[in-house]
Subunit: 470 residues, 2 copies
């Protein structure tokens, strides 16, 4: 029910499958369309996890599982390749509004049925919407997986979108937007995205705004639901103590008779239907607000999700502002005590990305923090990182990746994102090898190019809009 956090470690690889054929998310689905039989294959068998299997249903819907018998739980997710960037201007917030409504009831279940059936067995369920995809998930004990599949598939595939529920949920979403407006440390990230992407959908709020959510009609949301939630756009993923064939059978059973029970695959609108990204010239945007701290972001366009340099970028980001040993943390927090929170991050989309530094500091210290940050970025652009730093940055990438694979939720997400965003799942050891292969030269070439770009600045705090125009 929330908008997703920023992230993350680069995963997946560029559209080349083990068999050498280029493919992508929708391509993979289409390749199975026309057949009336589900097609299953075993993808990998990595030493840290379990066996991964992938089945494409006749409808084009993909099911991926990872069987990890040592676990007691299963995480089960339904991922849809639809996010806020698929909305037109007046639709802004439709993907997120729909995500909320899918928990409100189906022909068979009320909202209370949906939540109480999962919670009665101690399971948890939730959902989130990002700019490029939407995820509905549950985590339950292994013995309750059939229940979770039945409830989640019903909720996502067969929601009735009752007009009264649309009105009630509108109120909830307006409160979510208001809550977000009370969190200046979050708000500044939205302000920064707007500075870089302007009116392009990637520059808009995932939730929409009060202005777009208030007049949104059930008909608009229903249309979005039926056009966008089609089997080829959907990946079902599960990880934990499970049996692949049983999961596939239960999913087919749960979707039988719903609008997602189509055969063969219907053509679906493709991501390329959204307008091409056009990055704005570097700009300064200030949101005046009577806060205790100033929240600032300094950053620039980065690289897209399939850019081969993403592994080098992960290393650069780690060393520059990715941990307590990073240059920015050491300089701004450890040495000078100017901020509690200071870090850099990289976001990646299908065709674009962001690289930025965040800091929260006393309003009177913003100039000093910005000056130190700019100086550090310039120093790294000019002189690069040391060999020792690159080695540490690689250790951070590999360690956090491996440590991040110990729960069923992150393993389930890894399957789904690999399939949805890269059209493939890269084995763990291959991913680690990709990080290992990063050279000091690659990192420093990227740093020289990226960190010398004109930077946009976003500020939320007790300032006037013109305070940073110099």
């Amino acid at each position: 029910m929330s908008r997703a956090p920023r992230s993350s470690f680069p995963a997946g690889r560029r559209g080349v499958s083990p068999s050498g054929a280029a493919r992508n998310a929708t391509g993979a689905a289409r390749s199975a369309g026309g057949s009336s039989r589900a097609v299953t294959r075993t993808l990998s068998d990595d030493p840290l996890g379990g066996t991964v299997r992938r089945t494409v249903l006749p409808s084009g819907l993909r099911v991926l599982t990872e069987a990890i018998p040592a676990m007691r739980s299963v995480s089960f997710g339904i991922w849809v390749a639809v996010g806020s960037r698929d909305e037109t201007g007046p639709q802004a917030g439709a993907a997120h509004f729909l995500e909320h409504l899918l928990f409100k009831g189906t022909k068979k279940r009320s909202a209370l049925d949906i939540s109480s059936e999962i919670e009665a067995v101690g399971g948890e369920t939730n959902a989130f919407t990002t700019k490029e995809y939407t995820c509905y998930y549950a985590r339950v004990l292994d013995e309750d997986l059939p229940l979770a599949i039945d409830v989640m598939c019903d909720a996502v595939a067969d929601s009735v979108l009752e007009p009264a529920d649309v009105e009630t949920e509108r109120g909830v979403i307006l409160e979510e937007i208001a809550m977000h407006d009370d969190e200046p440390g979050d708000e500044v990230h939205d302000l920064f995205a707007r500075a870089v992407y302007g009116d392009h959908p990637l520059g808009r709020l995932i939730s929409g705004t009060e202005e777009t959510v208030t007049p949104m009609t059930r008909r608009q949301i229903q249309g979005f639901y039926r056009r966008r939630y089609t089997p080829p756009q959907i990946v079902v993923a599960a990880a934990g103590n499970l049996d692949h064939a049983a999961v596939v059978r239960l999913v087919r059973q749960a979707l039988g008779g719903t609008p997602l029970d189509t055969d063969p695959a219907a053509p679906a609108p493709h991501r390329s239907a959204t307008p091409a990204v056009r990055v704005q010239p570097a700009a300064t945007v200030v949101e005046p607000k009577e806060t205790e701290q100033a929240h600032v972001i300094l950053g620039c366009p980065g690289i897209d999700r399939t850019d081969e340099r993403r592994f080098a970028l992960g290393v650069l980001n780690n060393v520059l502002g990715g941990g307590m040993s990073s240059r920015l943390f050491q300089e701004i927090r450890e040495r000078r005590g100017l901020a509690y929170s200071v870090y850099s991050y990289a976001s990646q989309y299908a065709d674009s990305g962001l690289f930025a530094v965040y800091a929260g500091c006393a309003p009177g210290k913003v100039d000093e923090v910005l000056q130190l940050t700019r100086a550090e970025l310039a120093r790294v652009a000019a002189e690069g990182l040391t060999e020792e730093e690159v080695a540490r940055g690689k250790g951070m990438s590999k360690g956090s990746f491996v440590l991040g694979l110990e729960d069923t939720g992150s393993r389930m997400s890894r399957l789904a994102k690999g399939e949805l965003l890269y059209g493939d799942l890269v084995p763990v050891d291959e991913l680690l090898a990709r990080v290992d292969a990063v050279t000091v030269d690659e990192v420093n070439t990227l740093a020289a190019e990226l960190l010398a770009r004109p930077m946009s600045l976003a500020v939320v705090g007790p300032f006037k809009p013109t305070d940073f125009s110099a």
Copy 2:
């Protein structure tokens, strides 16, 4: 480096060990004092996890481990039975200030050494301070556990507290306090604790305030460190792919020659040295702030950590406001769309507790939300929960407990909290049996007593201090 979140599932049991002898955290430590040999025993071997072993060092410091060979990682924590409630008024914030300083350097390591040694191998490290304890932890790949033990023990046992670092870190903490002041949904919880506990240490901010942190001297913090961080007050806990004897050996080695290398156990100040809790009469406190949402908490004193009714309270809390199927979520969010976030929670301390409902809503809807909440509390107090609801509440308690034990971090925390707060570790199956044994009568007797108590109200939002005095 943060203040801990509220929680949680009741764990542990009242000071009776498997052998039938009453003991508590310090009692257990003392029982080994005087001996010059470490004493080890195997505590449990639960079906979901690994073998738990416990060693008391001659100094009184306790080491608990859980060996889980299926995991690739180890979580390692140093827990100290010292929190903000152990501070006198002028010391307010000392425990948290100290926690920050222990990452700043030792005789052997700089701040950068501490963070970079762990991060270079992809590990993560952090710390948090609560009202009753402080925790320093690291999570690393199993092969890096010796490194993590060496670094963490050095940092916690042998910090030099450089005067210049005290000044720098003061700035960081003042920024942390300012950041917190910008989060009204967090601030209201502090306001509520103050309404219930007044000037008692449990009513104060864990971080201290600008007024107490600004003048705090190195001498004060150093004194607090040396008086409070003594071996009998410390529990070292680790969970993951590890060998107990090796962990004990590495801990002893790392602590050798540090101020924590004492023998035999020195007497330590006991928790009872802090003033007895005196609960205030129910009151209304309003913090005027120009926010989009009103953040409100309605609640009362609850039960303490060892109260036998804590399992019944867990069930009551689940059904009343603990999930999406709960009465308050259904009534206030699902049916009326008045809030995005609404939930109840129970906090437990050694000798007291809180029970409360939080909601974030439009300022104009506060009266309606409060009226609905009061009506629901009164209804449950008068009529109780149904058998079906109690069954669901028990399922939630058991499921979230079991699902919460799948990562090394939560298993490590469970060992340490059991030892530190209960003086014992309850096997998983016994804990589940305790939940199963809860009856509808027990829940409803507790509800009738608890929910009929006079309620305090805390509000942060665009109001005047007198707006809720009626």
